[in-house]
């Protein structure tokens, strides 16, 4: 098993997503929450971060995605939406949590 990385910053504001990906091991799960969910949007200058990160599984918190008006058809393919119960499950099913703030 690998770690769960939480990223709560917009990829346009801070490099947290970029660094979480860079320092994550193969098989890592990366969960985008709060303003971090902007990293899950397709068609942006930052979409390459997620699209180019093979071997990582990406998740985004649904309530945060919806609050920001990001419709599901604008999400990058393969990003899975979870609710807080799913967040808890991710914490349980991975080795530990790294918060990339």
């Amino acid at each position: 098993m690998a770690d769960l990385y939480t990223v709560n910053k917009s990829p346009f504001e801070k490099n947290s997503l970029e660094q979480a990906i860079r320092f994550s091991a193969d098989g890592a799960s990366i969960l985008l929450i709060e303003d971090g969910v902007y990293g899950a949007m397709a068609g942006t200058a930052a979409e390459g971060l997620v699209k180019g990160a093979s071997g990582r599984k990406f998740f985004a918190l649904r309530s945060d995605v919806k609050a920001r008006g990001i419709s599901e058809d604008r999400l990058i393919d393969g990003v899975e939406l979870v609710d807080y119960a799913g967040f808890v499950d991710l914490v349980e099913s991975t080795d530990k949590v790294q918060a990339w703030l």
């Binding site: 709560n8 609710d83 807080y84 119960a85 808890v88 914490v91 949590v97 703030l101």
Partner: protein
């Protein structure tokens, strides 16, 4: 699973405390144990009973209090962070010569060792911050 939760930001300014609350609530509802929620940095400001948020907005402090009442949750404010930011209980008021307290029920003030202990005792530490 036994969880420790760390909250680094105060209410309203950053969403971190909202995320921490919803995560903690979801974990408890799924039957997991939350060993402790430790409030650090501006996070200690979650523990004031003096807030009066607008009526059409969430009451962040009361949400924590109610969750603690329902699940007998241990809500700990770091004493050093609390002193810097003016979060005071009876003991702190007496020690530091303050004429009022502002801590909310169900919160307690204690040392940083409580964070270390929580990290040792728990299966996972989950940090929410800015």
């Amino acid at each position: 699973m036994k969880l420790a939760v760390q909250v680094n930001e105060g209410p309203y300014q950053h969403q971190a405390t909202d995320s921490a609350y919803h995560f903690t609530k979801a974990a408890l509802e799924k039957g997991h144990e939350v060993f402790r929620v430790f409030f650090y940095h501006d996070g200690v400001l979650n523990g004031t009973r003096l807030t009066t948020p607008p009526q059409d907005d969430r009451n962040i402090v009361n949400r924590w209090v109610e969750l603690a009442e329902k699940y007998d949750l241990d809500l700990v404010l770091c004493v050093a962070a609390a002193q810097r930011r003016g979060l005071v209980d009876d003991g702190e008021a007496e020690r530091n010569g303050k004429d009022a307290t502002n801590i909310a029920p169900k919160f307690r003030i204690s040392g940083l060792g409580q964070l270390i202990e929580a990290a040792i005792q728990s299966d996972r530490l989950v940090v929410f911050g800015d």
